[in-house]
């Protein structure tokens, strides 16, 4: 069970998209897991062949629990024992204990002893997780009849993905709990420092207006898109703001995976990643943002999007606030806040002129960086926004 964020300690396996014997490719969605933040598509991070599904649909298991066993690509079932499938790349500072070792081969081995070989074979054929099958006699072995009963029960059960959706009220309560846990941990453990600066965005606003004039409605860029690019580029130059705080200290990330704080209708938020935001053009960033918001509000996120953000960007300008002093999402070490673009008087060359101004803020982890570096970072964003055509 992958950790899909610092606030997750368990998840419910809703549905398997694979069965034993299936060949899988790295990045393939193999299961749907229900978390406090909704249903997530879980990707696998190795090529190989599925040996067996350890956790059955409908079961809630803690983070770190082995979900499935897999033979790595090139291995044959006979030549080497199957090993726990890596549900995803490990999240560096996730509080997940090394449960993988604790529960995997031994637990599975023990289960094996209580199952007849033919029952195991039948379970494999029917795509039933053998360890989820309970023998009719609690002290007995799992027989073919038990497997058949489990298969019949599964058939009788309502379609998993659609029916297992929790009721709205409970889901909101769960989401609130998840946010409470992550934010409490953040305020308890992270010594935040806060900086704010006003950035003249007249040039980028004008540039975007002329760019959008050339575009049809569906191709237009939202004002936040060039800001995302500037933030991502500035982060590339500031490794102490982009990475994870782990038990072994700070680990900067070579890649910039920009977590975008996205509000949900009716309350709550998630901050999934736009991968490699510093390397993408504005059209790609807009397409990714559109895809992400659409899936946050109506569809499903992927596990990598939940676990990969190296930093978060929150944009509350739409709601009219001028500045946002945000709370860092652990194990990240920084969060950037953007406010509303307003017309403000500025003094230039002794004269008062009207400029479009945006307040950008930074909340960062003082264990990793100091105010001086944070200030350089905000100044870099401001500088990059003065040459908007270079962001495209």
């Amino acid at each position: 069970m992958p950790s899909l964020g610092a606030d997750m300690d368990a998840g419910t396996l809703v549905q398997w998209m694979i069965k034993p014997g299936d060949a899988v490719k790295r990045g393939q969605v193999v299961a749907v897991v229900e978390t406090q933040k909704g249903a997530i598509d879980v990707e696998i991070w190795e090529d190989g062949t599925i040996d067996q599904l350890v956790v059955g649909a409908g079961k809630k298991v803690p983070v770190g629990e082995v979900l499935a066993l897999l033979h790595a690509a090139g291995e044959t079932a006979a030549a080497s024992p199957a090993k726990p499938a890596a549900g995803l790349r490990p999240v560096p500072a996730a509080p997940a204990k090394p449960r993988v070792e604790a529960v995997s081969p031994t637990a599975t081995g023990m289960a094996r002893g209580r199952t007849t070989p033919s029952a195991r074979k039948l379970a494999d054929e029917l795509g039933i997780a053998i360890d989820s099958v309970r023998p009719a006699d609690p002290d007995g072995v799992v027989s073919r009849a038990d497997v058949e009963r489990a298969a019949a029960a599964r058939k009788a059960a309502p379609a998993p993905a659609a029916e297992l959706k929790p009721v709205v009220a409970d889901w909101h309560a769960q989401m609130r709990k998840a946010i409470a846990a992550a934010m409490s941990r953040s305020k308890r453990e992270i010594p935040h420092y806060y900086l704010a600066t006003d950035i003249d965005v007249t040039k980028v606003t004008d540039w975007l207006a002329s760019e959008n004039l050339k575009r049809g409605v569906a191709e237009r860029l939202l004002p936040v898109v060039p800001l995302m690019k500037a933030v991502a580029l500035a982060l590339r130059e500031m490794p102490e703001l982009n990475g994870f705080w782990t038990t072994e200290g700070y680990k900067p990330s070579p890649a910039v995976h920009l977590g975008m704080a996205i509000a949900l209708r009716g309350g709550g938020l998630v901050a999934p990643a736009i991968h490699d935001a510093d390397k993408k053009g504005l059209d790609q960033l807009m397409a990714d943002l559109r895809d992400l918001i659409t899936r946050v509000r109506g569809g499903r996120l992927r596990s990598s999007e939940m676990s990969d953000p190296t930093v978060t960007l929150t944009n509350l300008g739409d709601q009219g606030v001028e500045g946002v002093f945000a709370v860092i999402y652990p194990p990240q070490v920084a969060i950037i806040g953007l406010g509303r673009v307003t017309d403000r008087p500025r003094v230039e060359g002794g004269a008062v002129v009207t400029r479009k101004v945006l307040t950008a803020t930074l909340a960062a982890d003082h264990r990793v960086s100091d105010g001086h570096r944070g200030a350089v970072f905000l100044a870099t964003i401001g500088r990059l926004l003065q040459e908007p055509e270079k962001l495209l």
């Binding site: 049809g216 939202l222 209708r265 009716g266 559109r290 918001i293 739409d318």
Partner: protein
């Protein structure tokens, strides 16, 4: 662009808003108050409203005209003009 009645335009706006903010109650919307004060829509939702209106009414709404669509009545007036409503 076919001529449409103001009623048809109003219905099209409600249909689009209903897709994007399903919790909004059309009957409760004040026609002269800014929509964004009454319905929880952000800039992404607003862009989707513009895209959907473009698809259903065939009107290309340039960014500089967005300000005319801030209220329900403003949007009906604007779209009626652009559609050549009867």
């Amino acid at each position: 662009m076919t001529a449409r009645t103001r009623e048809a335009i109003r219905a099209a706006i409600f249909a689009v808003l209903g897709e994007i903010a399903p919790e909004a109650d059309p009957a409760a919307i004040g026609a002269d108050r800014p929509l964004r004060d009454q319905i929880d829509i952000d800039s992404f939702d607003f862009l989707n409203v513009i895209i959907r209106l473009h698809e259903t009414l065939g009107v290309d709404i340039p960014e500089k005209d967005y300000a005319e669509l801030l209220t329900l009545n403003g949007a009906v007036d604007y779209l009626a003009r652009r559609c050549g409503a009867s």
